[in-house]
Assembly symmetry: D3
Homo-oligomer: 172 residues x 6
């Protein structure tokens, strides 16, 4: 493909959804699975904006749900590709709940999804490199290598000893 590099901001995607009764558990809180469904759609749109090709979810990193989002509140999702590898893209997502009646916006979670781009035969294809610009984008870009090593180790595809970036996490 040899595609031209693209800026991180190019893939920026905003999604707003309303929490309806069927999205909630007995406490009237948004179910985690429903939220991940929306996050996956948002991540997929961001990935598509970057690679201009069909793509699909390859992996999802650890997600920790902080504050439950209530029935009738708004789910606000922001997604952005933070690094491109040969055929895959790491997408960073931030999720907030928003109680419009009390003008109160609260963090729900932060996550990293990895999508792989596909050619018309469904085989992985190259994606354009990513250029981070803001301080925040650069921080996400640099952390991507470390997160990728965790993924490879957890998937049994890399030996912990070879994970140089990750070892830094343990100050070794």
């Amino acid at each position: 493909m040899n595609a031209e590099a693209k800026k991180s901001s190019n893939s920026f995607t905003i999604m707003n959804e309303l929490v309806l009764p069927n999205d909630t558990n007995v406490f009237g809180n948004l179910m985690g699975g429903r939220l991940m469904y929306w996050m996956d759609i948002a991540a997929g749109i961001a990935a598509g904006k970057h690679c201009n090709a069909p793509s699909m979810t390859a992996s999802v990193d650890n997600i920790s749900f902080k504050t439950p989002i209530k029935l009738g509140n708004v789910v606000h999702i922001e997604a952005k590709v933070c690094r491109a590898f040969t055929t895959s893209m790491e997408i960073h997502l931030k999720v907030w709940g928003e109680d419009l009646l009390h003008q109160y916006k609260y963090e729900s979670n932060e996550a990293y999804f990895t999508f792989v781009a596909l050619d018309p035969n469904g085989k992985p294809r190259e994606v354009p490199p990513l250029i981070p610009e803001t301080e925040d984008e650069i921080r996400l870009y640099e952390g991507a290598l470390r997160r990728r090593q965790i993924r490879l180790i957890l998937a049994g595809k890399m030996k912990p000893d070879d994970a140089l970036e990750l070892k830094a996490l343990f100050n070794l």
Copy 2:
């Protein structure tokens, strides 16, 4: 209520959705009803941001669907309150389709929804006045009176002769 006036930009809401098989007709085009469902959610979120109260759809102005949005494309909706009346708000929506594979974004339609704010007993309640700022917001703000007269005439609540703003449209 006697609420403080709010800026138009305060209610700005972005929504992105993916067109899935069940959203489409036999041609693989997004059905108008499904699109209006999403537009109503987006308009409701914008209204909630402005009035910080529950609100519901009072009316929808003429919508003309220009270009059909295809299966697998993204629906991009932008909504913003463009004028507040005593207990109601007019929300302006712009809708685009986006073909990520071909990096092609096209206008689908433009619409005006009117929402009314409700108190805990379900009765209309006052909403804060709206302050337009940009040239575009001022144009939408000023056109709102004319559109309101069309609505009142069409609903049989105003005599055409009293619709001064509207008459201007006919250069009378």
Copy 3:
């Protein structure tokens, strides 16, 4: 096509739906977007009965929601083609809510949807002319020209001065 004219009654379509939790807002009232979704399906079936071809929503006229329809109530929709133009059809819809427990049926709204018929390549194709029969059908048939002029003006495709039918509305 040169199709044989059809009666208005030929396209008459009845739809009944039950308002379920996910169709409602925090007040337990049917959301406008969900109702428009059902109206679009009903209008599409009526259009299909008239033109016997695939068709899609071209425009929706001003809709004013009078009485909210409550959770657990029935939505009763009646749709009928009221006029055919070269490749498009205007469909008239009436919507009632029905509280079966209290044997209480109430008007929700009235609307006009315009559908365009499509050939296998997705291009507009001719539709059969429409023959109104009852007094009501004739009234709807005659008003269709005026509503069409409003649509064309609102879509910027007709100058107000050329809208002869519409000018009658303002007693000019």
Copy 4:
């Protein structure tokens, strides 16, 4: 309750639905479960019109699906209470598929649903007697006893020897 008897026609309910992609199996035919979902809603509306109380499905008689309904076709359901017992109602349903493009309407199936009316505590409550009027309604009314005996035998609540109406079926 001591309620006044009601005519069969009073509960007549028509439902039209469009078969969308998610309603179909790999052959593009409407799935039986999705159709039964719609039939249950239609039967519940008919039951509600008769008893003006909440009611729920008590049983469904043998359903035989004749002709599959295709993707994009219309499902046309007609439901009517055909007999009322002390606290329950038998509803007769007829279902057609309709191919609007070829103006072809075909029978899909015929079914009997039994609903029981409930008081505010969820206990069975009396329903008004039913008055059949047309020849067809009288035939359905009279067959209801026989079908009820089949139900009671199949549910193990009646001994076959006591099913006098049913024995007639076997010419004994």
Copy 5:
């Protein structure tokens, strides 16, 4: 086809679903139609495991709903092919509700669905014979003939006098 016989246990399928708000009526009880939708999916999976071909619902026997399943409870469905005929399969389903908070599991209903296997042209195709093994499977296998006669009589395809198996039910 001349396929090798398969054991009943080979098609055993378990399904667990959570009753969400939109699945319930005003009493917070699972609607019969929604349950039949799930049962149809479970029966279809069991049928597919037996015949390894696409298949579709041909008929559903009398279903009697005993105890309503409450909002937030679990629906537990078990399905198993109990007899194979030339091109069709009878599937036995048992359904329980499960209140996890009170560790209380209760029977909801038992049902028989008949599915027919289809070749790539949508025509019925042969299915493998079924071998029952346990006492329960043998009892279901033997009862299948009798249930089939009821179906054929109810569908008007068999005269009651020819239903030898069914007559045994009436001790004649």
Copy 6:
């Protein structure tokens, strides 16, 4: 609470779902978000069986999607609580795709969800301890501490140096 310990097998939950058109992307592959929605439901049922209390998703560990599951295939999910902490439970999930036509079952992914039990006020409450029995259950039970340390470090609630279990992973 002081609850009695429960076996791991007590929470074992099986779920089977059919991949329908709306669950898939343009390649006809199950979307990751839809799969995570089902996994969350299955994990929630397993958690409920263990703690007999309402519970909600607290976190989801890294998930790596191996083989895409195709339209029309079956999704087979198995969930089981593998360790209980004071107020939370770690649930292990295994997911397979199943192509019934070709009798081919393939691994899709493996995941760990953490649910927290809630009292009627929505505050965390104690859950019963878990007793692993089989070799596999003991292995999962023992790995749970290490996975918990990864979660705490990733959530910024534990210093890497304190993660003794995790350090073993790096052979330090």
